[in-house]
């Protein structure tokens, strides 16, 4: 009876997901985000190093050359196609380690579910953070709502 009464008045350990979300540790490895420089140019240079490092082979890239009319990234080269199959990803973070420009990071975003497989292949548009004016370093981008 003592145990019952003690637990009866403890606050619940669950939260009302998805209305409420638990604050995840900052270094949680969830969904990937592609970052931009402050001037809005993409950090990704389409070098394939993340794809090369990926043990699950879930990253697909096609690179192309920047032109003066269509400048996408800071260097000569950018990723025209950048796709991650989140169903294959094992969230090891090797892509983040391999990236020479800090373009890709794993953020504390864990709600990766759908009714079909197709939508879980994330395209560059889905992975890329929107252009913004503040620092693109690791930030609150992933913490959707606390």
């Amino acid at each position: 009876m003592g145990v019952t009464l003690k637990n009866l008045f403890r606050p619940p350990t669950t939260v009302r997901y998805p209305e409420q979300r638990r604050k995840l540790p900052e270094r949680t490895r969830g969904r990937h985000v592609l970052h931009r420089y402050e001037n809005g140019l993409e950090r990704c240079i389409g070098c394939y190093l993340c794809a090369g490092a990926c043990p699950a082979d879930c990253i697909y890239i096609e690179a192309e050359e920047n032109t003066p009319e269509n400048r996408v990234s800071a260097g000569e080269r950018y990723a025209r196609v950048y796709e991650i199959d989140e169903l294959r990803c094992i969230f090891c973070g090797f892509c983040e380690e391999a990236c020479p420009t800090g373009a890709i990071t794993l953020e504390p975003i864990l709600d990766l579910s759908d009714y079909q497989r197709g939508p879980l292949i994330y395209t560059k548009e889905m992975l890329l953070e929107p252009p913004r004016t503040f620092s693109p370093a690791r930030s609150s981008a992933g913490h959707a709502s606390e």
Binding site: I45, G46, Y48, A63, E76, R77, T101
Partner: protein
């Protein structure tokens, strides 16, 4: 027997031929010395200084292994502390201004600078000052982009254009630390051989504009193959991605054939393999459109029509025309299919010299055939005669072989042509004749040789150049623009035979396609041999032909006439095996999807009769199959089925049928190909 000297490197002692460069001697023994400027085909220059070694008794300190010939009793250290320090210093210098943009560099992953810095260089740079910057990339020409920041000034591209291709287009500009690679007055670098400088560049300074940023080297696997574009038969490494995509062609050194060079056509014409326009399924004509059908339905249709035609008007109203781009296996099964299954003797290959060959023309071809020389015999020739032939146009890599024969082996080049050709400048003697009159020229050469009347200049050339062997004759088998083709061929044959009685003679023809000689050896010729023509029979004005099998030959394009299209359309049955919906395929009743050279196992016979193997490197698109497989399957729907399951079985039958190939079996064809044993002395 060469003199051998004994050298000791890192405690190992062995014997090498006198005069070998120290770097080559070490390489042959598996001792790795870093290198940038030296290249086996280009020779030493001593510009990069990374191959430093310490030689005992040499007072000046570390010296370059690439430019030092071995000497007897030489004691060398490639790993001593002095050498290691010197090499670290050199790599520090090389990397001082190198941008280290490896992540976006096309060379990153297969870069000698990366590998060798990792193995021999310092871990960190001591250079903290701002690096030198250049505009990048600079467009050097239609095919090549230049990044001056990455360049380590090894001179390889400069030496290639100066010594191998001899167009001297890429040069070093300015001096000292301002030295950069470029072209004179920024003229575009246009060359038949431009792709080679990309492969030679030991860093990512010269990159291919076509392939820029298309791939990373670590995704690729290299598979050996043979170039399908001309009869020279250069060896290739085909780079493929994810096992199904052909990404690029690289050269694969075959000292007997290509000497590690490729022409730009061979290097850059590979996109057809992965083209989305490939025919991927059998197609039957329904009215004006094609519908895709299963193999079964296509075969039943063809077998039904074929049986009707053969029954009504006999088997000789069926003709077969195959392209000499097909493998020996394809051509052999094709011939057997036509002869044994259909019962028709009307088989032919196209394109081939369409001569009105009477008996003497055929004899001339046989003479020329029997004198067939090896490509490497050009290096031993005292005189090389280009008789109405322009190798730069037809088999470009031969041009490089000829330049090498002249420069390195002292051959004397005689150009006999009606026009200026790129090799004219290299010729020691030159004869011209009015356009198309090759036969007359060959006749006067012959008459001068046999003591008859001839113009003075012809007589001089014969007296100076054709009296001393060995002589190599390169002639153009297609005889484009020659007025009397039959006469010209007979004259060339007689000339070669007459020369052969006096000096040792070798003949190299310039042929139409990768396997033209194979088609000849297999006898893919109609009744009447060279004189007959199944194509004429098919397209002739009062043609009785009712059905035709066309394998890869594009008659409607190559014989442009309204009559051609009309004749092909009128046929009761036109079966076309093709990679694409060509002009001819569009007129067909049935189009069958064929495999390209990268999708089937088989052999090509190049112009020196070297049998080389192409392999199935990537899967065929859709349900496409090799031509011989298609014909074997089709024969199952007739009452005389062929029984082949593997290309090896076809080859065994070829060996039995074609005496010259009898010594060669699939298992013994080396990566560099092999010439039949009976020819190897030539």
């Amino acid at each position: 027997m060469q003199d051998l000297v004994s050298i000791t490197v890192d405690g190992q002692t062995w014997q090498v031929p006198k005069g070998t460069l120290l770097w080559e001697a070490c390489k042959s023994q598996g001792i790795d010395i870093p290198i940038f400027c030296y290249h086996t085909k280009l020779g030493p220059v001593g510009a990069c200084r990374t191959c430093l070694v310490e030689i005992e008794g040499m007072s000046k300190g570390p010296t370059t292994a690439c430019s030092t010939p071995v000497a007897d009793g030489m004691v060398v250290s490639t790993r001593s502390p002095v050498v290691a320090k010197a090499q670290r210093g050199i790599f520090d210098f090389l990397l001082a201004n190198h941008p280290l943009d490896c992540p976006i560099c096309d060379r990153g992953g297969e870069c000698p600078l990366q590998d060798q810095s990792f193995a021999y260089g310092p871990g960190t740079s001591r250079y903290i000052e701002p690096k030198r910057h250049h505009v990048k990339p600079i467009v050097l020409g239609p095919t090549i982009a230049l990044d001056r920041e990455r360049c380590v000034l090894c001179w390889r591209c400069v030496r290639f254009t100066a010594e191998i291709a001899e167009d001297k287009s890429i040069i070093l500009l300015d001096r000292g630390e301002h030295t950069v690679v470029g072209t004179f007055q920024d003229e575009p670098y246009v060359s038949n051989f431009s792709g080679n400088v990309v492969e030679l560049c030991p860093v990512g300074a010269l990159t291919s504009r076509k392939q820029r940023f298309n791939f990373r080297p670590w995704e690729l696997q290299n598979r050996p193959s043979v170039c399908p574009h001309c009869a020279f038969g250069c060896n290739l490494n085909v780079s493929i991605r994810k096992n199904d995509e052909v990404i690029r062609f690289l050269s694969r050194d075959n000292p007997e054939v290509d000497d590690s060079w490729l022409c730009d056509r061979g290097r850059y014409d590979y996109e057809f393999v992965n083209s989305p326009d490939r025919v991927t399924a059998p197609m039957l004509r329904r009215g004006d459109a094609f519908v895709q059908v299963p193999w079964d339905e296509a075969f039943q249709f063809i077998a039904g029509r074929l049986a009707t035609v053969v029954e009504e008007s006999g088997p000789d109203t069926v003709v077969g025309v195959a392209s000499p781009r097909l493998t020996n296996e394809d051509l052999f099964v094709f011939k057997r299919f036509m002869n044994a299954v259909v019962g028709s003797v009307q088989v032919d290959h196209f394109p081939r010299p369409q001569l009105e060959l009477a008996g003497d023309g055929e004899t001339a071809l046989e003479t020329l055939n029997s004198l067939n020389a090896s490509i490497s015999s050009l290096d031993e020739a005292r005189t090389i005669v280009l008789l109405g032939a322009d190798p730069s146009l037809r088999e470009p890599v031969m041009e490089l072989r000829l330049r090498k024969a002249v420069n390195k082996h002292g051959a004397r080049l005689v150009v006999i042509n009606s026009d200026e050709i790129p090799l004219t400048g290299k010729a020691e003697a030159r004869l011209t004749y009015p356009a198309g009159r090759l036969a007359d020229m060959a006749h006067s050469l012959l008459s001068s040789l046999t003591g008859g009347d001839a113009p003075e200049d012809v007589g001089n050339v014969v007296a100076t150049y054709l009296t001393e062997g060995p002589v190599a004759i390169v002639y153009d088998d297609r005889l484009d623009g020659v007025t009397d083709k039959n006469g010209a061929l007979v004259a060339i044959g007689d000339l070669a035979a007459a020369l052969g009685e006096r000096v040792s003679v070798g003949v190299l023809p310039l042929l139409d396609a990768a396997n033209s000689l194979g088609a000849r050896d297999l006898g893919v010729l109609p009744l009447g041999g060279w004189g007959g023509s199944a194509v004429d029979r098919l397209l002739g004005p009062d043609s009785q032909v009712r059905a035709a099998f066309v394998l890869g030959a594009n008659l409607a394009r190559d014989i442009p006439a309204p009559e051609t299209d009309r004749r092909l359309e009128q046929l009761d049955l036109l079966v076309v095996n093709e990679l694409f919906l060509t002009e001819t395929a569009r007129l067909a009743d049935v189009v069958l999807p064929a495999a390209s050279f990268a999708e089937k196992l088989g052999t090509f016979t190049n112009s020196e009769r070297r049998i080389q193997m192409v392999r199935n490197i990537v899967p065929t698109p859709g349900v496409a199959r090799a031509d011989w497989e298609i014909l074997v399957d089709l024969s199952q729907y007739t009452d005389r089925p062929l029984d082949y399951a593997l290309p090896q079985q076809v080859w065994e039958d070829i060996r039995r049928d074609v005496p010259v190939y009898s010594s060669i079996s699939y298992d013994t064809i080396p990566p560099q190909g092999v010439r039949p044993a009976s020819l190897q002395r030539a």
